[in-house]
């Protein structure tokens, strides 16, 4: 599903944000990436989302090697990835439903299908009633949930989330994590960058710990108590 070998990334003119990462994530796994601020969590997520290309090393995502992918095939890979941003990145002029519809529109889905799937996705994040609301009239947590609905509306095999619970209260955070877990159970690979350690601990999932761009630890939980 995701495979990194000696993966490095240096921002143009900047220092090395990621160095020599090697790991492997299987389909259906739910994995947290954690580390201090500036450790490279967001950078790794962007690499996997095919928004950045590695400077060195090999990265394979969904059986593709982005750095070897022809430019015109890049969008095709991105369409199979759902993405949640810390700052939501909702379009302020569009209703919640229209924001959620974005990935389906890009894929050229027919209107009826879009309507159906958008409603289902909003219901899933508990915002079925706010479909027509503009982002500015939603609370931070609601906006984040709209962003999550947008990331899963096209049922991508890979879901990436960069600090998805930054704006949520602990109760909602747990609910969202439960939702991610359910998606994982249906075969979606879920990768979450977060520094919410209590939440991560509570989830008992695999954790990649980054420290200054290096993989400090690949922690796998013990088999869950029966």
């Amino acid at each position: 599903m995701i495979e990194a070998e000696s993966l490095s990334l240096r921002y143009p003119g900047g220092r090395e944000a990621l160095g020599d990462l090697s790991f492997r994530i299987d389909a259906g796994e739910m994995v947290f990436i954690t580390g201090r601020s500036g450790a490279g969590k967001s950078t790794l997520v962007k690499l996997i989302a095919n928004l950045l290309l590695p400077s060195r090393g090999v990265l394979r995502v969904l059986d593709c090697e982005p750095s070897r992918l022809a430019r015109r095939h890049r969008p095709g890979l991105r369409r199979r990835i759902g993405m949640v941003f810390q700052d939501h990145r909702l379009l302020p002029s569009l209703s919640a439903a229209d924001n959620v519809a974005l990935p389906l529109r890009i894929q050229g889905a027919p209107d009826g299908e879009i309507e159906r799937r958008v409603r289902a996705a909003l219901d899933l994040v508990g915002l079925g009633q706010r479909a027509r609301a503009l982002p500015a009239t939603l609370s931070g947590g609601e906006q984040q949930r709209v962003g999550i609905a947008r990331a899963i509306v096209h049922r991508p095999p890979l879901l990436l989330a960069d600090e998805p619970t930054g704006n949520l209260d602990p109760q909602l955070s747990v609910e969202i994590m439960a939702l991610f877990e359910r998606l994982g159970a249906h075969g979606t690979t879920v990768l979450i960058a977060s520094h919410d350690l209590p939440l991560i601990r509570q989830m008992r999932k695999r954790v990649l710990v980054l420290e200054q761009g290096r993989l400090q630890e690949d922690f796998r939980p013990q088999a869950e108590p029966a």
Binding site: L52, P75, R89
Partner: protein, 311 residues
């Protein structure tokens, strides 16, 4: 039916949907700030109208140039010893030459009368004893080459004292007409370039507000072609609306100025067609403007990078 075939069909269907949506987006853009668009569209329409007028000008110069292309009259001044019968025989001989369209014999009297009508020559001629003019045969050759070979053939013959070729000043007039046409054509090309840039600028302005949306669309897998499409339709729509407006304006111009233009063209021996609307051109202007608008929009979409540069 194979699975690949099915997939291909659905891909085609989705592409059609994308085009439909892009057209809707373009209309949405246009309806959002009609006043802002109206200004740019009016400017475009005026530029296209200027293009139509330039085209009429080019046609007029072509019309002026046409007779000059053909006629390269030769005047054979016959020897003084040649009388009317000999001149008539020569004229007939020349008329039978396949290179000659028309040969006319002009008697000394006729030549004198013509000269006397020309201002200023009266005094000089009246001072002369008798009529000093020879018989002259004026030839209209078939073309420029015919004029040249005829002049070569007849120069130096005993019956001919001199040959005047009028092709020289005609060549000059020709060059003037050609230059004028080239200048007008150049101007027309400039206007076309201006139209394309005008659309490019209008589309670029509209695109500024959509930058964040496009960045997001790229992240979710929109291709550059997907992102360009609504703007290409917008550019095409710009061309369509502006050219229809330009055609209407042109018809109004012809309606109002038609009679005056007809007089003008008659007075200056211009092409009378220049005073009437040239339908194929008016109608052809519309698809041409659609192409120009699309090209302008495409230009406006060129300089935006994929997300990874701005990650």
């Amino acid at each position: 039916m194979s699975r690949a075939n099915l997939r291909g069909e659905s891909r085609l269907r989705r592409l059609r949907w994308r085009h439909q949506r892009a057209r809707k987006d373009a209309l949405l853009h246009l309806s959002r700030q009609p006043a802002g668009h109206a200004f740019a569209l009016l400017l475009l329409a005026l530029a296209l109208l200027a293009l139509l007028l330039l085209k009429t000008g080019i046609d007029q110069f072509r019309h002026l140039g046409a007779p000059l292309q053909q006629a390269h009259a030769l005047s054979l001044f016959l020897d003084e010893s040649i009388d009317g019968t000999a001149a008539a025989a020569l004229r007939e001989q020349l008329q039978d030459d396949p290179r000659v369209v028309l040969a006319q014999a002009i008697s000394p009297d006729a030549g004198l009368a013509e000269l006397l009508h020309a201002e200023g020559s009266e005094e000089a001629l009246s001072a002369l004893p008798g009529n000093p003019l020879p018989w002259v045969i004026v030839i209209e050759p078939r073309d420029r080459d015919a004029a040249a070979t005829l002049a070569r053939d007849w120069r130096g013959r005993a019956q001919v004292s001199d040959i005047a070729e009028e092709s020289q000043w005609r060549d000059r007039a020709d060059a003037v007409v050609r230059t004028a046409r080239a200048v007008l054509t150049g101007l027309a090309l400039l206007v076309i370039g201006g139209v394309v840039l005008l659309v490019a600028n209008a589309v670029r302005t509209i695109r500024v507000e959509g930058a964040e949306e496009r960045a997001l669309q790229r992240i979710f897998g929109a291709s550059e072609a997907d992102l360009r499409r609504p703007y290409l339709y917008l550019g095409a729509l710009y061309g369509l609306i502006a050219s229809v407006a330009a055609v209407v304006l042109a018809l109004v111009v012809f309606l109002l100025l038609g009679p005056a233009l007809a007089e003008l063209t008659a007075a200056f021996a211009l092409d009378p067609a220049g005073s009437r609307p040239d339908w194929p051109w008016l109608v052809g202007m519309i698809p041409a403007a659609v192409v120009m608008g699309t090209a302008g929009a495409w230009l406006a979409c060129l300089f935006e990078k994929d997300v990874e540069a701005s990650a």
